[in-house]
């Protein structure tokens, strides 16, 4: 039995939170420093994962498996594969940034805020590590509580409405999932082991019912159209850190759920429901983009843009071929990085202006040039400029979905135009145009804030220029997943003829780049 690294990663923040709870309320500085140390430590502990991970196998790694409630075969079963590993690291990273961005902006119940944040981190990492459906469900629901508190206690004026809406939406979805989990347990050989369940050959009718049960939970989280309306409210009211976690990690859980549960356990339902899912994704992309043009509230706009971007993610996942699924997973990371960074930035500027109304801004580039540069980079990554991470994800998703069904890529690509439109318009209204004299004395970013931005900047260029360092983690796991779902490691058959490709291969042409793949 090797070192239980995953348990450490899950329980370090939870225990840290408990320690924090015991600290004196008087000395806020100590609480903050402690929270920062814990989150930094946590991130440092995720680094061994990066180096020790074996990219040549789809088998779960860093596995910990103990019997827990033996009566129902419930296990404490953890492990990572190429799909989940990056999210664990991202969660740890994002939490650090959340601590940094909350340094001054949280004024009330400071201690409790950081406790909630750390507990949330533990639960999030638990979700990505769990391989037992029951354990997964516990972490899944456990996330809900700190997030509910983050919005409901430290949120904006309309926070109670937003928090309740968030809670109810996710809870209703989760309950349907719970029914699904129990059904699976009964019909699937009395086990909660996700990998074992994936081996089962369930009847198609049952698969379809379960698929929509899981869909309720996951689609709400993503959020897919039309169950997206909680997200703008939650984002608008949440404190900066809450928005960042929400955008960067929490809404990824939905897409992760599809990848980890719906697809491998319910392969026939997945292929049968491919079209409806793709259509819902397309609606999300276009609808989320167009609605951004009508937004007058900064945070609401970015929230709706998430609906559009997550539409790309689910599109990629359900287009069911190598490029699209890998692009979808990468785009989850990308969206986490970019939208997380955008919300960080909005949090920083909100701290100075206390307004979210876009029309209150204007000409900020004059007095905050450093901030304007950062925000421009995030905007460009969000619209998928090549060289930034956003491009890689969108390109792979669109390419993959084109191979599956060309018209889908046709519709989805329109999202690129709309995306540029609303993001650049937003940028213009905040940073360009005549300077609003109200902000003549606005403070430029301080070092702490620049430090908080740096990891995101590095990731944007890193993934944008060297995406293979991330994609390499996924190749084998995605191939395995696609084989489980479609019976072919490359996914569904292409809807486009590949006339020349075959002759290219057989002729031995295609120079070096074709040969490299076979390794």
């Amino acid at each position: 039995m090797s070192f239980p690294i995953l348990s450490l990663l899950i329980f370090l923040p939870i225990l840290g939170g408990i320690v924090l709870l015991g600290m004196s309320r008087e000395n806020e500085k100590n609480v903050k420093v402690m929270a920062l140390i814990i989150s930094l430590l946590e991130f440092v502990f995720t680094l061994p994962l990066w180096f020790a991970f074996d990219k040549t196998t789809y088998h779960m790694q860093f596995v910990e498996r103990h019997s827990w409630i033996s009566l129902f075969n419930i296990e404490y079963y953890l492990g990572l594969d190429g799909i989940s590993i990056l999210f664990v690291m991202l969660s740890a990273l994002v939490t650090i940034l959340c601590v940094l961005v909350s340094w001054n902006s949280i004024q009330t119940k400071v201690k409790e805020f950081f406790v909630a944040l750390l507990l949330l981190e533990g639960a999030m990492i638990g979700v990505f590590c769990a391989l037992d459906f029951f354990l997964f469900y516990i972490f899944w629901e456990a996330m809900l509580i700190p997030m509910f508190l983050l919005i409901g206690v430290w949120g904006g004026p309309n926070r109670i409405y937003a928090a309740t809406k968030f809670f109810l939406f996710t809870l209703v979805g989760s309950l349907l999932m719970l029914v699904g989990i129990i059904t699976l347990y009964i019909k699937g050989g009395n086990t909660f082991d996700i990998l074992a369940l994936a081996e089962q050959d369930l009847p198609v009718r049952l698969q379809l019912i379960l698929f929509w049960g899981f869909f309720a939970a996951f689609a709400v989280k993503v959020p897919m159209w039309p169950v997206h309306t909680w997200l703008p409210d939650a984002h608008t009211e949440a404190p900066a850190a809450g928005s960042v976690v929400l955008a960067a990690i929490l809404i990824k859980m939905g897409a992760y759920g599809f990848l980890r549960f719906s697809m491998p356990i319910l392969p026939d339902a997945t292929t049968a429901m491919m079209m409806p899912m793709l259509v819902l994704s397309l609606i999300g992309i276009v609808y989320g983009g167009v609605i951004c043009l009508a937004q007058t509230d900064l945070k609401r706009l970015i929230a709706y843009s998430s609906v559009s971007h997550m539409g790309f993610v689910t599109l990629g996942i359900f287009a069911l071929n190598t490029q699209s699924v890998e692009g979808g997973i990468l785009q989850m990371i990308n969206h986490g990085v970019v939208t997380g960074a955008l919300f960080l930035g909005i949090g920083m500027v909100y701290e100075r202006t206390h307004t979210r109304k876009i029309s209150d801004y204007g000409g900020l580039a004059t007095n905050m040039p450093v901030f304007a540069s950062f925000f421009l980079l995030f905007t460009l990554a969000s619209v998928g400029l090549p060289g930034t991470n956003g491009f890689i994800g969108e390109f792979l998703i669109l390419l993959g979905s084109f191979m599956t069904k060309p018209w889908i890529a046709l519709v989805a690509s329109s999202g690129l135009i709309i995306g540029a439109w609303y993001m650049l318009w937003l940028y213009q209204r905040i940073f360009f145009n005549p300077v609003n004299p109200k902000w003549n004395r606005i403070k430029e970013l301080e070092l702490r804030e620049i430090v908080a931005f740096m990891p995101m900047v590095i990731l944007i260029f890193w993934i944008g220029l060297f995406p293979n360092t991330m994609l390499d983690f996924m190749h084998v796991s995605v191939a395995h997943l696609l084989e489980q779902v479609t019976g072919n490691p490359e996914g569904v058959a292409s809807g486009v003829q590949l006339a020349v490709t075959n002759s290219l291969d057989s002729a031995g042409h295609g120079v070096q780049h074709i040969q490299q793949i076979s390794h």
């Binding site: 309306t229 609808y287 692009g327 018209w407 190749h475 590949l498």
Partner: protein, 640 residues
């Protein structure tokens, strides 16, 4: 990978990063690194050109950029004849514009920012032309768009400048929409995005078809037209030309470099680079020729009446780019690239000349307030004259050779629209000469029409501005020497040099025909110049009387055929209105939100009525229990 080739793009990149991060501290010295690096890039580019000329080619990958499943794309460089010509154009003009900007941008806020972005642009454009695959081309394509966005919006506090930058980016995105679908189709057909294997196997898609949504089209036609969408956006052809005139909001050196000489020619470069694909589809070639012809005429008619000097030159750029597309459309790619080459010099010169005038006039751009500048700005005057002669196609100047080659090729081409293109092209040659000299006479001759104060301050621009003008003038006069046609004693070096990449034109005109066509187009140009002289020198009242005789035509031209207004009215406003009133208010709030919030409301109401049952009276509970028992007994009885 040879070092000199790496230096060409990456030195400007380094210069961008350094200047952007530390330029503020360097202040007025921040131009040094960008200038030095682009000059070194130019030297390396020239060396690369010599290498290619001696028969040396490079096609090498730096590293694998994206690989997923069977898809793999590298970052890599291709150095061949076409690339080497583009490298020369980009680096030489960029270097001159860098130097010119030291004078032009002196004392501006964000001086360092300007130079940083110029370096960024140079890097991006070089990556675009150097790439050995479509995705890297797309990288450069979008990155030049970004640089253009940043530089158009350089005076970002001006709403019109910020609007123009945004517009340029979004309109280009519309073109890119087609471009990226074209890339997907290429990948679907060839299984790779690298030029070499694609062009080597291009014949295999010749008679294939592609079906989408029940519509079946010829595969090469589909690919070619999708790629052409991107070219239309980048090179500002109809119907996506609207961003380029607005882009004149940017500082004038930017207009010269990006919006005249280099970036806007990327579309032509794309078509030329993909000539094996385009040549497979007669339909695509006809479409390009027709779009080019119409744009050519359309833009020239607008340029006739504009009074903002930069706008005249901007519309003239659109019109000249259209000539290049006509050349590509009729299969004479090397003629198109030749015009790209000569145009880069004389058009950059025109723009920089405008910039010099704008400096002298203290940022007055309206020709109505100019006149008689000849004696105040002699160097600007003479260089501007040379550029005007060149664009008007006066024999011996660069523009003459390239334009005539296009017209001759169009005339003899086997592409259906070729004759039509020749006719339009010749007509526009006359118009070009007219509007160029109209501008020239209005600026430099006659009496000064501005304020006395402006007049007192009129003087020639500093040497850092005029030296680049002189150097460009050399190009505007002599750039044609590379491609003097055989009919007047040349040896058509240009076409031979590019032949390995761009192939043969479809047909060659006989010498007699070439000579006749030449005489016709030169006469058209001469007539244009004569008309301009007659209207603006001899009879200054004539323009007014013509305006009064054709008020509708004049209004259409002066208001650019109201295309912007049309787009605003038919696309922008409806989409935003639809977003606000239908998507947000009706679908999102009235329907989805109501259903979502309605569910708890219904549950609330149901549970509210259920609550009344539990009123705490034991007698009621007893009654319910009895009722229940009776119900169960009956149910069991019936069930049995």
């Amino acid at each position: 990978m040879p070092t000199y080739l790496l230096i060409i793009p990456f030195l400007p990149l380094f210069s961008f990063v350094f200047t952007f991060l530390f330029g503020k501290r360097l202040g007025v010295q921040s131009h040094w690194l960008p200038i030095i690096s682009v000059v070194i890039s130019f030297c390396c580019a020239f060396y690369a050109f010599l290498q290619v000329k001696s028969g040396y080619h490079i096609n090498q990958d730096l590293y694998t950029w994206i690989s997923s499943g069977t898809m793999s794309v590298s970052v890599g460089f291709l150095l061949d004849e076409l690339t080497s010509v583009m490298l020369i154009v980009v680096t030489s003009i960029s270097a001159l514009v860098h130097i010119y900007s030291v004078g032009y941008m002196k004392g501006e806020d964000g001086y360092y920012r300007f130079f940083a972005f110029l370096s960024l642009f140079t890097f991006s454009m070089l990556m675009l032309v150097l790439g050995n695959n479509f995705l890297q081309l797309f990288f450069g394509w979008e990155a030049v768009g970004l640089s253009s966005y940043l530089l158009i919006g350089f005076y970002y506090e001006k709403v019109s400048a910020a609007d123009a930058g945004k517009k340029a980016f979004i309109v280009n995105r519309i073109g890119d929409f087609g471009f990226i679908l074209g890339l997907f189709l290429i990948y679907a057909s060839f299984g790779t995005l690298h030029y070499e294997p694609i062009f080597a196997h291009v014949d295999q898609i010749a008679n294939q078809t592609f079906t989408m949504l029940g519509i079946t089209v010829n595969l090469p036609t589909a690919i070619a037209l999708l790629l052409f969408c991107g070219a239309i956006g980048k090179s500002a052809q109809l119907p996506l030309h609207v961003w380029l005139p607005d882009a004149m909001e940017g500082p004038t050196p930017v207009s010269a470099l990006i919006h005249a000489a280099t970036m806007v020619t990327a579309g032509v470069f794309l078509v030329a680079r993909c000539n094996p694909v385009f040549s497979l589809s007669m339909t695509a070639l006809n479409v390009i020729t027709i779009v080019g012809s119409i744009t050519c005429l359309f833009a020239a008619t607008i340029a006739l009446t504009q009074t903002d000097i930069k706008r005249v030159v901007a519309y003239s750029t659109i019109s000249q780019l259209a000539y290049m597309f006509i050349a590509c459309g009729v299969g004479a790619y090397s003629a198109g690239v030749f015009h790209l080459f000569t145009h880069a010099y004389f058009k950059a010169l025109l723009f920089l000349g405008c910039g010099s005038i704008i400096l002298g006039m203290h940022h007055e751009q309206d020709v109505k307030y100019m006149g008689g500048l000849k004696k105040y700005m002699p160097i600007t005057y003479w260089t501007f004259l040379l550029a005007s002669l060149s664009i008007s196609g006066v024999p011996g100047f660069a523009g003459f050779f390239s334009k005539d080659e296009i017209l001759a090729m169009a005339f003899v081409s086997n592409v259906g629209a070729g004759k039509f293109a020749w006719f339009i092209g010749t007509l526009v040659a006359g118009m070009t000469a007219f509007y160029s000299f109209r501008l020239f006479f209005l600026i430099f001759h006659g009496d000064f029409r501005g304020t006395q104060e402006q007049k007192d301050h009129l003087k020639e621009s500093p040497r850092v501005v005029t030296v680049p003008l002189i150097l460009l003038a050399v190009g505007a006069v002599a750039a044609g020497n590379f491609g003097i046609p055989a009919v007047i004693g040349g040896n058509a070096n240009w076409g031979h040099f590019l032949e390995p990449v761009l192939g043969h034109p479809h047909a060659h005109p006989s010498h007699a025909i070439e000579l006749i066509l030449m005489i016709i187009s030169v006469s058209a140009g001469a007539f244009g110049i004569f008309l301009a002289w007659k209207m603006y020198m001899k009879n200054p009242g004539m323009p007014q009387s013509i305006r009064e005789r054709f008020p509708i035509l004049y209004k259409l031209s002066f208001n650019k055929y109201f295309v912007d207004e049309m787009y605003g009215f038919s696309i922008v406003k409806p989409v935003i209105g639809f977003s606000r009133h239908v998507i947000l208010k009706i679908i999102d709030i009235a329907i989805i939100e109501n259903i979502v919030n309605g569910l708890p409301r219904i549950i609330g109401r149901v549970s509210g009525s259920m609550r009344k049952v539990q009123d705490g009276l034991v007698s009621h509970y007893l009654a319910y229990m009895c009722g229940g028992v009776v119900f169960i007994i009956i149910w069991m009885y019936v069930g049995a």
